[in-house]
Symmetry: C2
Subunit: 243 residues, 2 copies
Amino acid sequence: MILRGKALRDQVYENIRDRIISGELHPGDSLVEVELAAQLNVSRTPVSNALVMLRERGLIYDSGGRMEVSVLKLEDVVNLYWCRMGLDGVAAFLAASKITKPELKTLETYLKAWETPVQESDLSALWVSDLKFHHHIYEVSDNRHLIRFSEITAELAAVYRRNTIRRMSDPQSGTSRSRDDVRAEHQAIFEAIASKDPIAAEHAARQHIQMVIKHLELADMSLELREEPPILGATPSITARSL
Amino acid sequence: MILRGKALRDQVYENIRDRIISGELHPGDSLVEVELAAQLNVSRTPVSNALVMLRERGLIYDSGGRMEVSVLKLEDVVNLYWCRMGLDGVAAFLAASKITKPELKTLETYLKAWETPVQESDLSALWVSDLKFHHHIYEVSDNRHLIRFSEITAELAAVYRRNTIRRMSDPQSGTSRSRDDVRAEHQAIFEAIASKDPIAAEHAARQHIQMVIKHLELADMSLELREEPPILGATPSITARSL
DNA sequence: TACATGAATGCTGCATGCAGCATCCCGCAT
DNA sequence: ATGCGGGATGCTGCATGCAGCATTCATGTA
């Protein structure tokens, strides 16, 4: 569990971050230092440091002394994707200016993942190759600040996605974009970068994010419509975790 | 010195950050916890936490256990401004969509600061109103992630500016942009936002940053040309600070 | 019964002790 | 003189002690 080649606080950070993203820790859960320290078999010090890092990145927030897992509302995520529109656009622009042959080859690999038919059940595989595709563009842009920002936004977006993925991917909702839509958008980005056309690349990247935002808002509306009205005075529902 | 309404670590963070930006701490200086703790009359704990925060924001970096003030080369700052191009553009876009009458009034105030003639010596006043102008656009965009990123980039850019401001503003260099250039660019941004034209606002904001980048590179070239060749084996030059 | 007040609990933030690691310096040998 | 080795030094990272603050629960009173 504990590697000694790496600072404990970084391991704790990664552990908590992953537990937030995986959904093991829910939005609104309060993070108690002694508990976490006991779970990870370390003292409070590295936990405290890790919490500072998590707060800096917006994954948790200070609720009057208590640290709680951030609750990302739709508005937050849309705002996040507005940032990504700017950042992804610039990254695509720079990538189109700088990309080398082997890097282009790698990018194509990630693109291809969308063409091979995958099981309905294996949505996470697509999600991973989506991440890799976009991340690789950032890497190629060779701009460490851009890469940092992309990591921060990706972590936050991952939390939201996790907490809505079941509902989002519900085929009944009818709001899921087809894989072909996404693939086509990625294809457009790839081609613009491949033809070393920075302006077209930026445009394509921005188009892609715009579609994501539009879809987010549509899906959310759809969810709201399908939401059952809360029963007044009902006890909080028992979560799967407590069974 | 020490306020008790605020967490010590935040005060320490701000203190060190300001000392880095003011130039009291130089790029490459190593930050020793016990020294800083003694200077600020606190224990190592809040200092250590502050260093974690500073590292998260890129103001310092881990040099094999030692923490050192980041050295920002031109390439880094240009990369930083590429980020700002994306972010400022989106912020201007959103601001143009949302801005209210009083907010517009405030923005105009900051714009006007560039019209009133200022002393040659008082460049920092312009620098402040420049910061306020851009920051207000972010505020109006009402996007907390965007605001966060703007703060991070602004802090980093401030460090660089501090460490080059004397040379940059040297009238002999001939590379300084006239205030009128900057004012005209700000004017364009303001007008686009005032007329609630998001696309024009984004365009104007991006144009502005492009000019900044171009100027950065020109100024740096000019500096390199005027740099005296180092004398082999010469002792490090005595800085003005040590006199 | 409802509300107010006070005690007990629990958690965070700061201080400090301790061990491990890298670095630097000095002495020794070649 | 130079290169190598060992010891001393200094710093960080982790653990733990301590105090202050907020929240909560219980008890007493209107």
